[in-house]
């Protein structure tokens, strides 16, 4: 057996990196704090840009991890306690008192979804028909996309950039995936309820990646989704439990109000809760501007942490789409391989 690596986080990035490393013959401990692999992917229904079922991808990845059990040992329900530097490599102590002697640590702890309650004026947690994108995704997964009182939604609005590009919540960055997710979910609503009027309230539509623009075009042309350039200002509830929203149609320069049956807040990504603690334990740097881990640089050392033998993959170094996360994980594995064979 070659060298040993501990991976913190059993989401897509952790799993993909584990598979890449296992493929090269390394021993991998995949440390997952919950009792299941998959991270946020496990809670998603379909994946942009081509509506692939998230479950299929997850099953394939978990299947591969299981197949590689000679190399990958998954440790569930544990978190990292501390790391000590040894003569050769690192000693990792887990919360279940297991001690691992490893040669490198890969942090793939991912992201947390923005807590929409923090935008008080959007009424999340107060009005039943205000949901987050994750809530809606769960409804899609459960195949029960209805309002709180069981009605079929006639009008649905999606609010982009909730908790992103917002100095008031100290998230000045773009979360990258919310625009395209909003477009995806808007189309899915129209697929379910073709008669519904669907509105997307956006500031900028960041359709940067492959097939994204086509999705946007289809949302407009095929599904007739309304795109309103304006940020939601406030939300209130009408007497019949609908949601009254106010925004400015900035392309017309006129304020507008609209009552919808369902309001979906596209919550962005934020550094996961464990970031600060991990940073302290592993001697990592956190970016003061976005609170995600900093890498050595953004080019050739994009997976290397400032501390020796510690690597970073996935959305713990800033918002990433799933394809980007998986690529980043493979690239992290390559970085670790180079580090260990140097």
């Amino acid at each position: 057996m070659k060298e040993t690596i501990a991976i913190i986080g059993g989401g897509p990035a952790g799993m993909e990196a584990a598979l890449s490393l296992a493929g090269r013959g390394y021993k991998v401990y995949l440390v997952e704090k919950t009792d299941a692999l998959g991270g946020h992917l496990a809670r998603w229904d379909r994946l942009f840009p081509q509506q692939d079922p998230a479950q299929d991808l997850l099953n394939e990845m978990i299947g591969k991890v299981r197949e590689a059990d000679d190399y990958i040992e998954v440790i569930y329900g544990t978190e990292l306690q501390y790391v000590k530097r040894r003569m050769r490599g690192l000693e990792v102590m887990l919360s279940n008192q297991t001690v691992l002697q490893v040669d490198a640590v890969l942090v793939a702890c991912g992201f947390d979804l923005f807590r929409a309650e923090r935008k008080e004026e959007y009424g999340y947690g107060i009005y039943e028909n205000v949901l987050t994108s994750a809530d809606l995704e769960r409804k899609f997964k459960e195949k029960k996309v209805v309002c709180h009182d069981g009605r079929t939604p006639q009008k649905v609005a999606f609010v982009h950039c909730v908790g992103s590009r917002d100095e008031k919540v100290d998230h000045t960055y773009c979360s990258k995936v919310c625009c395209v997710t909003a477009v995806k979910q808007a189309c899915e609503i129209k697929e379910l309820y073709p008669e519904a009027e669907v509105f997307n309230l956006y500031m900028d539509l960041r359709m940067f990646d492959r097939y994204f623009e086509q999705m946007y075009h289809k949302a407009q042309s095929h599904f007739g989704v309304h795109f309103v350039r304006g940020r939601l200002s406030e939300v209130s509830e009408t007497v019949d439990g609908k949601i009254l929203i106010k925004t400015e149609d900035t392309l017309l320069g006129r304020p507008m109000k609209l009552t919808v049956d369902m309001l979906v807040l596209m919550v962005g990504m934020q550094a996961c809760a464990a970031t600060a603690e991990l940073a302290e334990k592993l001697d990592l740097k956190v970016s003061p501007s976005d609170h995600f881990f900093e890498t050595k640089d953004l080019f050739l050392r994009g997976n290397q942490a400032h501390a020796k033998g510690i690597f970073l993959a996935g959305a713990c170094t800033g918002p990433k789409s799933l394809p980007d996360t998986l690529q980043d994980a493979r690239s992290a594995a390559e970085s670790i391989h180079r580090y260990l064979t140097d």
Binding site: S221, G224, D249, L252, R254, P255, M256, K257
Partner: protein, 112 residues
Amino acid sequence: MKDFGFGLKKSGVMDLDGIDWTLFREIAAEEPSFMNCFYCGTCTATCSAGKYTGFNLRRLQLLVKRGQWEEVAQRIPECMLCGKCQWVCPKGVNTRHIVMLINKKLHARKIC
């Protein structure tokens, strides 16, 4: 009714709950490219009429989608149908047809 020398002011807010969605859907059905617009404003910038007036096709299309027909009815008669906008549109919107359809709907609904 009394006159106190002041009274209610008309709200500038567009109330999308009170608009007639069918009109705009009709136009979209007759000219599907109506839905393609992403409001880049190229049409407005090249407009022959826009050189002399405030004619703004991007805005008018959006006003139709928001059901604000009064402003549309005021402005649409300024179009000369010259078709420059159609040429420069990056989304292949049949702008001339849309202007004609808007006229048609305005007339059919006796808005103008």
